[in-house]
């Protein structure tokens, strides 16, 4: 079936928006220079030309309002965007007869994702990287993303001309106080993970202690399981092993790995205070 690239783009738009995407875009598969070799689109799909990115399913306003801190850490919503990614891949193959490969979530060697979906989202103009880490959509702020690599030459959507971070309010705060809402809530110099510098209203430096963020917040998921297993095997006493295995921490870890699955978000305290998308995190 032959359709113009523009018509194909419109059909794709209708499909992903119906499927719940709040943002979507198309990146050039050759633009992933900053990704290491072996982790670029053509490494996953020979002949790759585009990467279609869909974004959405952020935590709902009620998730942000919950006083139970484990809630955000365990009740993730990113699986919904992954299922839309899968559907998008199927749609492209069935409708246009071109290869479309859903980028699996999860990691390959070196704990590295198969393709950086954050980079794909930036290149596709869905958002820009923030001081706090996540790619921020200019309107919605934090979104989850899923990517599909395809040989179909959809028209490209350019990266954002203006970055979403820092927000004007953060620039003002930086100028007055030398920090931003996210660096204040989780400061690198004070047991936290974030630091950075803003010059002329632009983010020019960012420091993020990923290892600390992982150990502070990914307490229930794969790292939690590995930590628990290590602890179990370090015990010589069978009773002590049993105690760790049946502990609430280990039990929660198993639940989160299987049922809650990919929903192991961060604590997102840095996002809770971010002005970008703040109105969507608040409801009556």
């Amino acid at each position: 079936m032959t359709v113009s690239a523009a018509a194909a783009r419109d059909r794709l738009a209708a499909m992903v928006e119906r499927g719940g995407a709040l943002a979507w875009g198309v990146a050039d598969a050759d633009a992933f220079d900053e990704a290491p070799e072996g982790f670029r689109p053509a490494d996953l799909l020979p002949g790759a030309r585009r990467v279609v990115v869909v974004g959405g399913s952020p935590p709902r306003a009620a998730d942000w309002a919950s006083p139970v801190h484990e809630h955000l850490e365990t009740m993730g919503t990113s699986d919904r965007i992954n299922s839309l990614g899968l559907k998008t891949a199927k749609f492209i193959e069935a409708e246009f007869g071109y290869y479309a490969l859903f980028v699996p979530p999860g990691v390959r060697r070196g704990n590295r994702p198969f393709l950086s979906v954050a980079l794909a989202a930036e290149l596709a103009g869905c958002g820009s990287r923030s001081l706090a880490g996540p790619v921020l959509h200019p309107e919605y702020g934090l979104l989850f993303y899923s990517a599909v690599i395809t040989t179909y030459p959809f028209p490209l959507t350019p990266p954002l001309a203006e970055p979403a971070c820092p927000a004007p309010a953060c620039v003002d705060m930086w100028e007055a106080e030398g920090e931003t809402p996210c660096t204040r809530v989780c400061p690198l110099g004070d047991g936290g993970c974030l630091d950075g510098r803003i010059e002329d209203g632009r983010l020019v430096e960012r420091r993020y202690d990923a290892a600390r963020c992982t150990s502070r917040v990914y307490t229930h998921w794969i790292p939690g399981f590995q930590k628990g297993l290590e602890l179990v095997l370090d015990q010589d006493d069978p009773e002590a092993r049993k105690m760790v295995l049946y502990s609430s921490h280990f039990t929660k870890t198993l639940w989160s790995m299987t049922y809650a699955a990919q929903s192991q978000g961060q604590c997102w305290e840095c996002m809770r205070v971010c002005p970008v998308g703040a109105e969507f995190r608040d409801k009556a």
Partner: protein, 215 residues
């Protein structure tokens, strides 16, 4: 291929169908359990159900049921008290396809058997009779599991055997945080259903080839 499976989507479809039968027709409908409960055996064989319902026939490649048009498909089933008109098994074998019979006559093998031969560390063996029908087929499931299901429950079990047998604390720690174990856990968590086989035997299969060939 080993980590991006789609099979659970068929299970979702079955749930929708079960709801439909119970709500609209007032008959019982249950999703046929498809995960293994003893060894590798599920309580009910989806493969047999697919063959009896006329969706495909058993192939030389790991007994996979090949659909005449699409080749490899995943199947899910529901069992119901609704008196639906039964379909019938296909009259013609999907496997071996014509090119495979020709190849067998010339070379004594087929594309799938040649891609994973039992005699050379692979999992498959088979023979065709003079009518071009399968007269013997062999599939080493244990070997296929260990060769190709590198991400998932099997690999977690494999890694745990090694980790728990390791007496040295530091070596044990490096095994626990290794790429292999992390990936295996990630597959349990992220991919879930998607811990498929390597499917090299399906990659070369002519059945459904045109459906897999895109631009």
């Amino acid at each position: 291929m080993e980590i991006t499976g789609y099979d659970f989507r068929e299970n979702v479809a079955v749930h929708v169908m079960c709801d439909y039968i119970e709500r609209e027709h007032g008959h019982r409908a249950l999703q046929a359990p498809s995960l293994p409960t003893a060894g590798h055996n599920p309580p009910m064989s989806m493969m047999l159900a697919a063959v009896l319902a006329g969706l495909g026939t058993r192939s030389l490649a790991a007994n996979i049921i090949l659909h005449p048009r699409y080749g490899l498909l995943y199947y899910a089933a529901l069992v119901t008290t609704l008196d639906l008109e039964p379909d019938h098994p296909l009259e013609e074998d999907v496997c071996p396809s014509k090119p495979c019979i020709q190849m067998y006559e010339k070379l004594g093998t087929t594309p799938c058997l040649a891609s994973c031969p039992k005699g050379e560390g692979g999992c498959l063996d088979g023979a065709l009779d003079e009518d071009g029908r399968i007269s013997y087929s062999y599939y080493d499931r244990e070997r296929c599991t260990s060769r190709s299901m590198n991400f998932g429950i099997g690999s977690i079990q494999k890694a745990l055997v090694q980790i728990t047998a390791e007496g040295d604390r530091e070596r044990r720690q490096s095994m626990i945080y290794s790429d292999f174990f992390t990936q295996s856990l990630s597959s349990l968590s992220y991919y879930k259903e998607s811990v498929a086989q390597c499917f090299e035997c399906m990659r070369v299969c002519p059945v459904g080839m045109h459906e897999r060939r895109l631009q």
